[in-house]
Amino acid sequence: MRAALTALTAILLVVLLLMPLAVVFTEALRHGLDGVLDTFAEPDAIASIGLTLIVAAVTVPLNAVCGTAAAWCIGRFRFPGRGMLMTLIELPLTVSPVISGLVWVLLFGANGWFGPILNRAGIQIIFAVPGLILATTFVTFPFVARILIPLMEQQGVAEEEAALTLGATGWQTFWRVTLPNIRWGLLYGVLLCNARAMGEFGAVSVVSGHVRGQTMTMPLQVEALFNDYDWVGAFTIAGLLSLLALLTLAVKAMLEWRIGERGGPLL
């Protein structure tokens, strides 16, 4: 029985996880390294990589700061509406990514609530980079906060209070006591946030408008190339994304090991 279960798990693991990963890399390398290099010579491919990096570079720090602030509020204080706020933070995880994209179109699109005003001011959000950043920020907001809230609740306020009685200002307390205590958790959250920011497809697809070379992030570029029957190109970009995911996994494993070693249960 146990052997059968183990075998089943192993088969599932191979079929569901390893085979797709193998397919990505074999398809990308079907025409050898030249095919891969050709893909990266395409300006559209370069643009999609650049755009993905820009979106992540804005989204991840923004969410790290806001997520830490939200976790600090919720983890440290008891106030009316606290439970509501916690639910709201989790909202992006439960809402379909398509809706996460659509709300921005309804708000800032040409026919949206603020569309006419923005149009007159000459500001374009939807089908442009700001829209991509908005949608990605929304989708990835919970990652940092969700990891930090239980961590901060578990650590309690005693160390911060001790710092205050020893004469530290609020900022000194934050930089010297709060932040060092949550740094591994924060790094972990940032990592997950980054992985999602680079890999997000649904919400980004809705607000992107698919302007090649301008509003296509890497996941969108993969879809576009795939639809063009450019298999090597599609799988090359997909391979790059997969490498990123593998790297994230490796760092995550390292962080978990590191956190485990410092004694504090984190997740």
């Binding site: 005693a158 160390e159 209070e161 001790a162 710092a163 205050l164 009685t165 020893l166 004469g167 530290a168 200002t169 000194q172 010297r176 006591v177 060092p180 205590n181 004694g263």
Partner: protein, 349 residues
């Protein structure tokens, strides 16, 4: 350093944590706040440190109004119940913290800080632990680090919240003597919170007994023990034997006992008489009380006695006459203190 508290009130929701607390403390005093859990003693300590705001009342520390002065400017050393050491810093950095966060013009040089930290650690007999992390040292050592850290800022007032609460009995005993000694040597003014009456009586100059946010009595330990102001204080400060009685014409009658007791200023009506087991005088019978058993208890004998359906223990010195099990005897309860029964509530310990 004098501390003056006047009419402090603080409630959490509908629960009054402090209910009209007033207290004056002299420079150099070592005061214990004693009470069961939930009596408001920790809240009082946190108010003094500026970690909690009162709803009304005044706190004056050394003649200076503390209202509106944030915790970091009070110069009050606080030793937390679970030490609250900074877990990511070495012991030396923990102790140095209060000096390192000083504004630049008041901050000692790194060398001076290092020297001061080392001398503090040596004062605490943990001079060789500076490079360790909090999780690598024992509870008793953490306690000393927390104390060193609080003392590094040269506080005018030292507050200790259940300083020995998390330690085992043996370590606790030795730290008590050591802390009292340290207080005297460093000319500190200290307040410590405890729920252990033996600890409070042994260490403090004066003990304030708290109950449900009110101070029941503040006095030197001897007086507190000999003249408890209420039934609660009597019960809380040591083993007490409890008799229901009725006060009439200035005398108290206890069921089954022929001689009524003098009652002091207790008003007529239902009352309770409390007496310590060693204060009960046993006289040779035959009498109304029966001896159930006699046990040796260290230097004393513990005599279990039944009187009118109630069973209680009496302590007798070995040199005193002691009845044998099965005897009957007379009891003399004149040393009992009589309190109106409405003021009685069992201590929550």
């Amino acid at each position: 350093m004098t501390v003056e508290l006047r009419g402090l009130r603080k409630s959490f929701g509908r629960v009054a944590a402090l209910d009209d607390v007033s207290l004056t403390m002299a420079r150099g005093e070592f005061l214990a706040l004693l009470g069961p859990s939930g009596s408001g003693k920790t809240t009082l300590l946190r108010v003094l440190a500026g970690l909690e705001l009162v709803d009304s009342g005044d706190v004056t520390i050394n003649g200076r109004q503390a209202y509106g002065v944030p915790a970091r400017e009070r110069g009050v050393g606080f030793v937390f119940q679970h030490y609250a050491l900074f877990r990511h810093m070495t012991i030396a950095r923990n102790v140095a913290f209060g000096l390192e966060v000083l504004p630049r013009h008041r901050r000692p040089s790194p060398r001076d800080i290092r020297d001061r930290v080392q001398s503090l650690l040596e004062l605490m007999h943990i001079g060789d632990l500076g490079a360790r992390y909090p999780e690598q040292i024992s509870g008793g050592q953490r306690q000393r680090v927390a104390l060193a850290r609080a003392l590094a800022i040269e506080p005018s007032l030292l507050l200790l919240d259940e300083p020995f609460g998390a330690l085992d009995a043996k370590v606790r005993k030795s730290l008590r003597i050591w802390l009292r000694d340290l207080h005297d040597r460093m000319n500190l003014t200290s307040i410590f919170v405890t729920h252990d009456q033996a600890e409070a009586m042994e260490m403090a100059d004066r003990v304030a007994v708290l109950r449900a946010g009110r101070i029941e009595q503040v006095d030197v330990p001897d007086k507190l023990y000999a003249e408890p102001a209420s039934a609660f204080v009597h019960e809380f400060l040591g083993e007490s034997v409890h008799f229901d009685c009725t006060v009439n014409h200035g005398r108290a009658d206890i069921a089954g006992l022929d001689a009524p007791l003098p009652v002091g200023d207790c008003p007529p009506g239902p009352a309770i008489a409390l007496i310590r087991p060693h204060e009960i005088e046993v006289l040779p019978g035959p009498g109304p009380a029966r001896v159930d058993s006699v046990h040796a208890s260290g230097p004393l004998r513990r005599v279990r006695i039944s009187l009118a359906g109630q069973t209680f223990d009496v302590l007798r010195a070995r040199s005193q006459w002691t009845p044998a099990a099965g005897d009957t005897c007379h009891l003399d309860l004149t040393r009992a203190r009589v309190y109106p029964s409405c003021s009685f509530a069992a201590p929550i310990s």
